[in-house]
Every structure is written in structure tokens, then in C-alpha cells.
Subunit: 320 residues, 4 copies
């Protein structure tokens, strides 16, 4: 394999740049050329690419975002568009493609591979940690530290004013960020989409805390479990607590990656490039139980990343 393609797709995540660097330098070290496509799959369709040298990825390991830019290419849902992309890649001599992104991006890669005979290898980068085959995904550790920083700050005000704060973090279908940041932030309650909850019970918990002398509380909620605004209002009405809300939003995506995310991205990116050049395809590299392994995209895309409900119980014990 002489030329491999590389792109980042979907929501950006801290560590994408570290993964780009790892793919490029590993591939160059094994004698390949690397073509970087800009703005995700759009870069293939629109001939927006350039060759990546070692110096082009110098100094990027410490930066958030992605130097290749990203995109959400809706046209790529069309088989005809994918066929076109496959032809573009073949005409450029690209026989293998590395896709850095979330599950939507990986689903596109799988189809491209199956339909067009392009070898593909996936690198899971998303702050949501919702991809089976890696735990955590690249960007998750940075995102929970960012969310934790905000929770720590809000705790100062909650304490100073004897208030309840509801902090809404990202996670439409999954509560990974909420659970981890809530546990780390010592949240009095954590509300996630996977586990049903009752606001009445939350209010009882807050009242029990008050009777023990606890005057301020933090509730962390994943956006898929409810909006901070609605929950805050509900708690106010049901319990009379002075309640404020905070929505972290897009701030969670950016920032310089943590040490963990840089090392994870470097290991996963390098593994992916090596596997692709060794002739593997249709897989995703990931961190599973302490090792970097490849998992078939078929398995990745058909399996739900399970939430660790033990941590929710643990958070409850810790809030006593």
C-alpha cells in the first residue's frame, strides 16, 4: 500500500490532532504516502486534499480541534455519492482510508469499504464515549475534565449561596459524560437517559441532605435525560429550593487534550495505520480492558456501549 487517505469527520474531539499525527508519522515510517482530505468526506468529493509530511503534523499533538477540519457530509448517505467517492480515491491511488470520528462517520466508512473495495480502518474520536469497541473514546477524558472544571466552579457559588445547581452536559442518548463528571464532581444526583429517575426522589434526596446539614447541591444531567432549565424549574416548584441552571454546551468539545487523550490517540492512531498497512480492513482500533485492539466495524456499529450502573449506585453512596 503506497498511498493512504486520512480524514476527520463528525463533531470534533480533543485528541483528533494527536491521532492525525500518529497516523501520518506511522504511515510515513512504513514507507507510505498520506493524503489528508479536508472537511471529512466532503474533501474526497470536492478534491480538497493535500499530501501530509511529517513537518505538517509537528506541534499539533497539544491542540484541540482538527487541522484537517471536519464536516457532516449528508450526501454520503447516498450510495451514488459513495460510489463517486470510491472512484475519486482510486483515481488518486488511495487504496486504504483511515477515518477519525464518531459512529456516523464509521458507518460511512464501512459502507464505502463494502461498496467500493476501499480498505478502511476506523479511529474512534468523540467526546460522547458512545462507541462500542473502545472505552473510553478519544476526547472523552478531556471533555469530562472540562465539565468537571465547570462543576467545581459552580460549586463555589452553590456553597456561597446555599443553592442547588443543575448542570446540563452533553449526551443525547447516553449518560457517560454526566456519570463520570458527576461522580468526579461529587454531584448529589446524576440523571442519565439510560436509567429512569423520579424528580420527586431527587427532591427527597435534597431534603434529606438539608436535614443532615448539607446546604448546597449539584445535580448533573445529560441533555438526553432532560434540560437543566426544565429540571431546575421542576425542583423549584416541588421543593422550594433556590435552584439555578448551567448548560455547558459546545465548550465541552474544545480545549487542549489531556495527557490521557494524547496518549490514547497516539496509540490508537498508530495501531490503525499499522493494521491498515498490514492488510486489515473494516475494523476500528480501540482501547479495551487495557489494550489496543481491532474490532470489526460490523460489531462496533451493531452493539450499544453499556453504561456502568454500578457507578450510579456508587454516586448515591457518595452523596450521603
Amino acid at each position: 500500500m503506497n498511498t493512504i487517505g486520512l480524514l476527520t469527520s463528525g463533531g470534533d474531539a480533543p485528541g483528533m490532532n494527536a491521532a492525525i499525527r500518529a497516523v501520518v508519522r506511522t504511515a510515513l515510517g512504513r514507507g507510505a504516502r498520506v493524503l489528508g482530505f479536508r472537511h471529512g468526506y466532503d474533501g474526497i468529493l470536492e478534491d480538497d486534499h493535500s499530501e501530509m509530511r511529517s513537518v505538517d503534523v509537528g506541534g499539533i499533538i497539544s491542540r484541540g480541534g482538527t487541522i484537517l477540519r471536519s464536516g457532516r457530509c449528508k450526501a454520503f448517505f447516498e450510495p451514488a455519492v459513495r460510489a463517486q467517492a470510491g472512484q475519486k480515491l482510486q483515481s488518486l491511488g488511495v487504496s486504504g482510508l483511515i477515518v477519525i470520528g464518531g459512529d456516523g462517520s464509521l458507518a460511512g466508512a464501512k459502507k464505502l469499504s463494502e461498496e467500493c473495495g476501499i480498505s478502511v480502518y476506523g479511529v474512534p474520536a468523540t467526546i460522547d464515549n458512545d462507541i462500542f469497541g473502545t472505552n473510553p473514546s478519544i476526547g472523552f477524558d478531556t471533555a469530562i475534565n472540562t465539565a468537571l472544571g465547570a462543576i467545581d466552579r459552580v460549586r463555589d457559588t452553590a456553597y456561597s449561596h446555599d443553592r442547588v445547581f443543575v448542570v446540563e452536559v452533553m449526551g443525547r442518548k447516553h449518560g457517560f459524560i454526566a456519570l463520570e463528571a458527576g461522580l468526579a464532581g461529587g454531584a448529589e444526583a446524576i440523571l442519565i437517559p439510560e436509567i429512569p429517575f423520579s424528580l420527586n426522589q431527587v427532591c427527597e434526596k435534597l431534603a434529606a441532605g438539608t436535614s443532615r446539614g448539607k446546604k448546597s447541591s449539584i445535580i448533573v444531567v445529560a441533555e438526553g435525560a432532560g434540560s437543566a432549565h426544565q429540571i431546575s424549574q421542576d425542583i423549584r416548584e416541588r421543593s422550594g429550593f433556590e435552584c439555578r441552571e448551567l448548560v455547558l454546551g459546545h465548550m465541552q468539545r474544545g480545549g487542549n487534550p489531556t495527557a490521557f487523550d494524547r496518549v490514547l490517540a497516539t496509540r490508537i492512531g498508530s495501531f490503525a495505520a499499522t493494521q491498515l498497512m498490514n492488510g486489515r480492513s473494516g475494523e476500528m482500533a480501540g482501547f479495551m480492558n487495557g489494550a489496543i485492539v481491532g474490532t470489526p466495524l460490523e460489531t462496533v456499529l451493531s452493539t450499544d456501549q453499556p453504561i456502568d450502573s454500578e457507578r450510579l449506585l456508587l454516586a448515591d453512596v457518595m452523596a450521603q
Copy 2:
């Protein structure tokens, strides 16, 4: 003066604890006792106070919030309630009171002094920097660095996705946080309540940037100049830019104070305690043109802190 009272009132600000430490240790060093009242003026009315020893303020210089807790005492608008507070203070032997807080808290202090013969000295602590007689106020530097951290993070995503981001910061009547964080964050536009603006012009500016090759932009708006949600929607409709919003909210209040805020709070707090014990009253300590000075509360409360419109022009030049 043998016993001085101390309280924090209004919205909490990073550096309040450093100011508490400075007041306590300065007063103790000059032979006074210090009574700390909890939850602002409520602590006087509800006999919620305790004597503060040097060790009680050990290690707090680095922490956000206020160990004395704060409060917004609406009852204190009533002359009868203030009279009651004055009697409480006198019965405790408190002849002088130091109030750490924003303009509402300082207005209460002024009235208490005029009506009840209690000496008072103000310490300006608010993230809003909207108090005449000090520039900046205690907490402002930390707040703009917090806002800047969020802007830097959002810049990663804006860059990666070629997007416009509208970031809403605190400031109902004033644009100090927006102006400083926007200038430091390299914002393409800064919208503040003091200076009229046109969204059409903002859109033209964005379009001009695009034509020069700039693909992502950050707009910083003070809450008093418009909501991120509304402005984001307007820009999308008028210009077609892909536009996202972020509301920083209460996160801006908390966090460990910066070096600047710790030194400022220490200097102002110590100055206030010294002046009060030297017989001064009805003033506020502040940082003006490089020195710590006292300004009559009358002047403080009747003068608007002017915005530096030069910086807005500078931000425009920098966005070219």
C-alpha cells in the same frame, strides 16, 4: 475600635476569601477583634456570627466563593430593618463594619452608616467590574480568564467546522467582561449594552472576513446586549452562516482566583481594615490608576463606571 464586623454580600466573586483573610489578619495585627457575619446582612439580623481568628482564614486565599457565605437581603431595603441591624451591631460592641460585595451591598452599608452611626468601609468584589472607584473590581480578572478559557475552547470547534459562534457572557448593564474577554479572545465582534450596534453590520463584517479567507468567527455578547440564542438565530437568517451559541452563565462566578485577584483583594482588604481602624468611614477602598485609594461611597454609588470605547475600536482593527 476593639471589635469590627465583617460580611460578604451579593453575588459571590473569586477573591472574596482573599479579602476576608486580609481584613481579618490586618485587624488582628492592629489589636482588634473581628466578628464574621454569615450570609451577608442576614447574619446580623439573625445573630449568625462567630469570632474570626487568624487560623480560621488560613488556606482560603486560593479558594473561590466565600467562607462567610453570601446573601441578598431584601429586607435590608427597609429603614426599620436597618435600624434593627444597627442595634444588633451595637449590642455586640461592633463599632465598625466592613462590607465586601457589589454596589447593592455597598448602598446598604452607606445607609446603615448614615442612619445608625455605624462606621462602614466597603470592599468592591464583583465579577462585573461595574463599580466606580475601582478598576478592576475584585473577581473581574478571574472571571475574564474563565470566559477566555471557554472562548479558546469554542474556537477549536469553530475552526474545525467553519462556524460562527456567539458566546454570551455576564453583564446586564455593562459590557466589561464581554469587552475584555472578547479582546483577549480575538473575537471578530463584541456586542455590549453601552454602545449601539447593528446586526447587519456584524453580518457584513463576517462576510468580509469570509471573503478574506476567514472561515470561522467568534462573537462575544454581553447578556444585556442580547441573548446568544436570538443573535445566533438572527445571523443565521440574515447571512446563512452556520451559527452556534454558548451561554457561559454562572460558571463565570466561581473558580480559584488568579494571582491578580488575590493580590488585589489582599491589598484592598488590608487597606479597608486599616482605614476603618484609623477612623475613616463611608468610603470604599479601590484600585485606581495603579494605587489603592479610598473613595466616598456617595461618589461610588452616584457615578457610572465608564466603558473604554477605545478598546472596541481596537477590537475592530484586530479583527481585520
Copy 3:
């Protein structure tokens, strides 16, 4: 088991407080009393202890260091002293003891258990990550992020002045911090005690980098592999590069724990308390391949934590 003892011993590590909180709240939740001993084993010998209530561990999850203080009790190497400690514990009704610390502290716990019939359970907290049975140990993630912060800062100066910087991190016998921080920091060379290296080869690598256009470099060295001062001088003499040094030292121990360390400490601490109360003894709780498990102290203390030499090769590829 009605009363369990708790102490922190050896070098402090970020996350010790989170572990204390987890032990206390888990034990209280299961109906036990917790006695906290101050300054490590000295607290047992010197009757320096107090009962820990839930409120005593409120708000400490976010703080570095240890509220129980730590110590290195040399007298504890004497069997007679340990016998005395055993009697003290029995007279206090303490039938089980949780020890939070590094390998020296855990060795003391093992002997205390074997000789005096006290049940013990270990919680591995050290920035060095040199304890078999957990990977990483509590405090490691925070320490590598601290080291990384320093490396990122030094990179600015190295780049601006075309210099080589040698950064010395902690690790007398092991290179875990050096390897992880070096990989995350994009170091051009990483020198650790476990793997022999040649400074001539390092100089050749630097020269090869220069010929490719790389004008600045970072070398990360574990203290056990050489001093920054000596290595810096050697490189200057052998190669003529302008070389500077930085010794991170004790700064690496402190700081607010990262999200990862807080969650890890909470999970491990809670697991340890649960196991001890379930009648287990002579084990250490740890994080192994994605799960929290107990490992006999005998195994922990007789097995060397292996370094991942793959990462060193990876760092080499990345430095090309």
C-alpha cells in the same frame, strides 16, 4: 466489624482525599464507625486520631494532598513497634485498617496484619505508578498532566529559541511518569531507568532531526535514569546544541486531582471498604484491565510493575 481505622502514609498523591471520602462514606453507609489516624502510622502510635463523620469529608474530593496528613514512620520497621500499634488498635476496637499509600506503606500494613491479627486492606495511591496490582495508581493521571503542562510551557521557549530542553521528572526506579508525559508531550527522546540508552544515540537523533528542519527538541528523563543537569551538559559537550534543563520536582505531587483520579480513588476506596467489611484482608484494591479487583498484598509486594516498552518504540516513531 463496627470500627475501621483509616490512614494515609508515604508521599502524598492527588486523589488521596477522594479515597478518604470514599472509604468513610462507604463504611458509614454500611453501619461502621471510622477512625482516622493522622500522619500515617505515627497517628496510631501517638493516639492522634478522631472519628470521621460524613460531613468531615465533604468538599475534599477536589483537593490535592491529604486531610489526614501523611508521614513516613521509620519506627514501623521494628516488629516491637508494630506490636504496640496492634495493641493500640485493638484497645480502640479497631478490627480492620485501610491504608492509603505506596508500596512501603502497604508492606507495613501486611506485616501489621500478619503479626497482630488486624485485618488490613490497601489502597494504592502514589504518583509513581510503581505498584503491581493497579495500573494506574491513584495520583498518576494528575501527575502526568502536571508534568505535561510544564513540558508544553517549555516547548514554547524551546521553539522560540531553537533549543534543546531536558526535563527531569520523578521516578527513581521506574520511568512511568517520563514515558507517559513524554509520549503525551511529543518528546524527541525519553530516557528511563528500565531501558538502557546511549547519549550518543540521543545526540545522533537530535542531529537527524535538525537535518530534517526540526530546530527545537524536548528530552524527558526520569530522575533514576540521570539528572537533567548532567544530561544537558553531556549533550552540549557532545553535540554543541544549545541545551537547557528543567527539574519538575515536588510540584508533581500536588494539585487538584483530575476527573480520572477522582473517579479511580472513589471506586478503589469504596471497593476496599466493602471488601474489608466483608471479611477480606491482606489485599489491595486496584484497577486492572478495566475493572476494580483485589490482589493479595503478597503478590503486590513481590511483583514488579512492568514498563510498556511498546510505548518507547511508539515515541521513537512519533519523533520522526
Copy 4:
């Protein structure tokens, strides 16, 4: 003036990039061309320069170091070399030069101007804050926050182990960093070159603290007042305290600039470009008592920046 030159010289400081951006965009906005010289004055002598467009300074406001690189050009002490530099500048059509750096760099600028008829304007960037005509200099605020971060971390360990820590910060002739970081860090003693001190008195202070119940202490020392190693050893010998040392070193130079430094650099850089283009020369732009003003280089270079000894007294009161 159609073409102005720009360089950064001497030790790098956070905010240099923000100043570069401000000079470039201000000059372009007024119709000038800007030539950026690399590696300080060497860039003039060695024809190492390129034209700077607006896009070249995009995104650099948030980064430490200097994209123009810096250097300490010893040859520039020779009049003949300066004459050569003057000719190079004239042959390039550069009639005015902006020099960003410390006092050595500004002294070179002054001579170049006097001897060769080149207009010059200075921008004071150094972490040391030792330049008269600005208080603070660009980079100082970031450096003290970096030092403060290290002091806060060390405080955790000092507290956990009842230890004294001696932290050595930069400052050969001046104690500005030591004084500010020490005051912000709540240091028990601050030792600076400008004010004589007695280690016996320091030990007495530590002993007095111990007798009041204070078990750990931080001493901040400027490198010009003594080495942490020597002072630590002296204190151990004289007092028996368990004493550790930490040398912050080059870490203090780097890092992303704070909000304050970014705004300061933007204002000063823009002012300097404007003044130079308005025909002013032989001056340095600086922040004095709340405003940006120009001061003749003659005055700047012949006046010592005074230390604020009040702050040292304040630190003493605060350490009680």
C-alpha cells in the same frame, strides 16, 4: 512610512505573539507593509525575514513563545554590526522598526536609531517586569500565575507532610515575580534581592508560626536573593525544620498568555505601531497608572523599576 520592520528579541515572554499580531494588523490597517525578522537582530543581519500578512498572525493571540523566534545577538554590541544592520534595513526600505523584548533588546534599538537614523519604537515584553516605563511588562501576569500554580501545588504537599518548602522563582536583580507570586500564594516569607534579609529572622518567623499551630510554610525566593538549595539547607541546619526545595526555572517563560497579558500586548503593540507611523521614534510604549503611554528609551534605560516595599510589609502582616 510604507514599510516597517518587526522583531522579537531576548528571552521569550507570553504575549509576544499577541503583540506581533497587534503591530501587524494595526500597521496593515494604516496602509503599511510589515517585514518580520526572525531570531531577533540576527534576522536583519542574515536576511532572514518575510512579509507579514493579516492571515499570518491569525490564531496566535492565544499562544506562548514567539512565531518570529527570538535570539540574543551578541554581535549587536558592536557599532560596526549595527551599522551593517542599518544598511540592510535601508536597502529593504524599512524606515521604522518595532522591537519587542526586554531592556537589552531595547538598548540595541536605541543605539540603532541614534547611529543609523532608523526610527524605532519599543514594546516591553519580559516576564521579569524590570523595565521602567511599564508596570507590568508583557508576560509578567502569565508568569506569576504559572509560579502561583506551582506554589499552590507544593502547598498540598507541605500541608500533608508538615514541611517547609523553599520555592525559587526567576529574578536575578529584581524580586517582582517573587513578591507578587509570594503574596498571591500566601507565602510565609518572601526573599528578594532589593531588600536585605536575615535567615535567622526567617527561622524565628517559622518557629513563631509553629508555636501558633502553623505546621507548614512556603518561602518564595527570587534567584538573585539566593538559591533554594542553599536556603533550604541553611534553614534545616539552623532550625531543624524538615525543608524541601523547588526551582521553577524555565517553566515560568512559557504557556498560553492570560487575558491580562493578551489585552496588554494588544494595546501596547497597537499603540507602538501607531506612534511609529505617526513619526515618533526612540520611545517605548508602556502601561503606566492605567493608561498606555510612550516613554523615551533614554528614560526607560536609565531608570530602575522600583519595587513596592509596601507589599513586602503586607506579606508579613498576612503571614501572621
